[in-house]
Symmetry: C2
Subunit: 339 residues, 2 copies
Amino acid sequence: MDRENDYEVFAAGDVVLQHGATLRDARLAYKTYGTLNADKSNAIVYPTWYSGWHWDNEWLIGEGMALDPADYFIIVPNMLGNGLSTSPSNTPPPYDRSRFPKVTFYDNVALQHRLVTEHFGIERLPLVTGWSMGAGQSYQWAVAYPEMVERIAPFCGSSVTSVHNQVFLEGVKAAITADAAWNNGWYTEQPTTGLRAAARVYAGWGFSQAFYWNHEYTKLGFSSLEDFLVGFWEGFFLQRDANNLLTMLWTWQNGDVGQTPGFDGDTVRALNSIKARTLSIPGEKDLYFPPEDEEWAAGHIPNAEVRVIPSTWGHFAGHGSNPKDVRFVDDAIKELLTH
Amino acid sequence: MDRENDYEVFAAGDVVLQHGATLRDARLAYKTYGTLNADKSNAIVYPTWYSGWHWDNEWLIGEGMALDPADYFIIVPNMLGNGLSTSPSNTPPPYDRSRFPKVTFYDNVALQHRLVTEHFGIERLPLVTGWSMGAGQSYQWAVAYPEMVERIAPFCGSSVTSVHNQVFLEGVKAAITADAAWNNGWYTEQPTTGLRAAARVYAGWGFSQAFYWNHEYTKLGFSSLEDFLVGFWEGFFLQRDANNLLTMLWTWQNGDVGQTPGFDGDTVRALNSIKARTLSIPGEKDLYFPPEDEEWAAGHIPNAEVRVIPSTWGHFAGHGSNPKDVRFVDDAIKELLTH
């Protein structure tokens, strides 16, 4: 079976979202790796990132790695809006495309929680981990279900989307929507000019100054800077649906564990309520999730440590494409799992 | 007289550019401050920055400051493409708008050199200084006219545009040109959707993560983040002509003192040839002209020092809007001028 079809679906029925809309016949696409043990104590949740799909997470799963399917039952839920779970691109009218409702990190995690508890009957999670928006979901799990989550290892992501990060995303959004073909989301074909523009905007943010200075993109198999911009970045964005990207972008821009029900917007109180042992793993040169933000968050979490990935790959230190960074993240999670 | 009309023009005739085109009836708009002394030994050249006009440089000129008109004769030449000097927006057909030729840093400085020597009869310059692309022009002066330039104080800019910086600019360019109204430069009205998108892209780059984290934009008189994005950034870009912006963007992307005639693309050799006492003043948190790049350049200049502006204002530490940073830059230049 090709990877695009190799997944399960949790049919969640009608789901009322935090911002009021009802997602009817909501579907959560997921894939599992390994076997749930008898006492259901070995499950790890590992959500996807901005526009990523479950198979994009597989680099961190494998024999001899922290997330070893021989030891753990690893559940990778696809984010709402990523095109596999309920999304603008696969929802029938009237909530299709531009009318797809606003979805929060909490909405995503509440749905994942139902999969984990209702479908699998799991009551404890030794770990929730993820990259980027997957890191945001990790924090969100720890705040929403403090008694259930034993550890979190968010890498290259944050518990609250900083103002600067919001501004970076404004640029991406403005590039997509500057294309007249976007047509307020009612396009008949993808607004490729806007998607390509967004790709070029994103290119400078995804990797660090030093990554480009050292021409590291040639190590990814690209023959020149322009080849990297077209072959990697434009190719990446052209595979995505514009409305899906804008839906997930809204989720990201509005990320804040303080918006979890019961916390009334108080981010610090939300962080303070986390019971999970927390190992935050930011990238040293990440331009939109800088280590300082994680230091700040860790200062408000009772049992937290920050371990910075010493890498010039910027945000993509957590993408799984640089072997040295893969080892660093994997080692950190291994150590966390032994405590 | 209003500031838009308060300047002089050096009519340079037909100017052959580095990339082969001829700029016919080229005009260099400039303004001077102070008086040229009898032996013509007190002139400072202080070129403009990306899309800036001469009056945007005035914050660094004044009584009691390093650039004091009582002591120095300060010449502020407007960059080609900025709308006052010869630009896409003011050139008649056939070289108008989209057909405006490619202009390099060297082309700009060679024209400024003619103003300084032919028009004013000046043979030595105690200082060339400037922000951002003005810093690039400072380096260019020192490489092209090593016997003439005694000191340079480039702030928040570089001698060669780094690959990452080129990529950042690709995003700005892609945003402007994603607007169908741009029409390959043959617009009848400004492509405002593209200009606004470029403004939002630029917003995340201009100031640092910490600037936004600390809501420093409120100190600039903006009431919210969105007010800053619209009021400052969109307002900034809407005052500019799209083709002018793209012309100066090309100049910037292709900045490299190694492209000075005689150096055959060898940036290091060009830096090594600089005779000016060099004080490079990068901003600590500048996202596209990071201090590391200046350390690298200084390592190849015989008589160079790097003094980092300790500021969270990122690139805009050199914009003149943060009093603390103004003092730092001014003090640094004062000290340089005494040696």
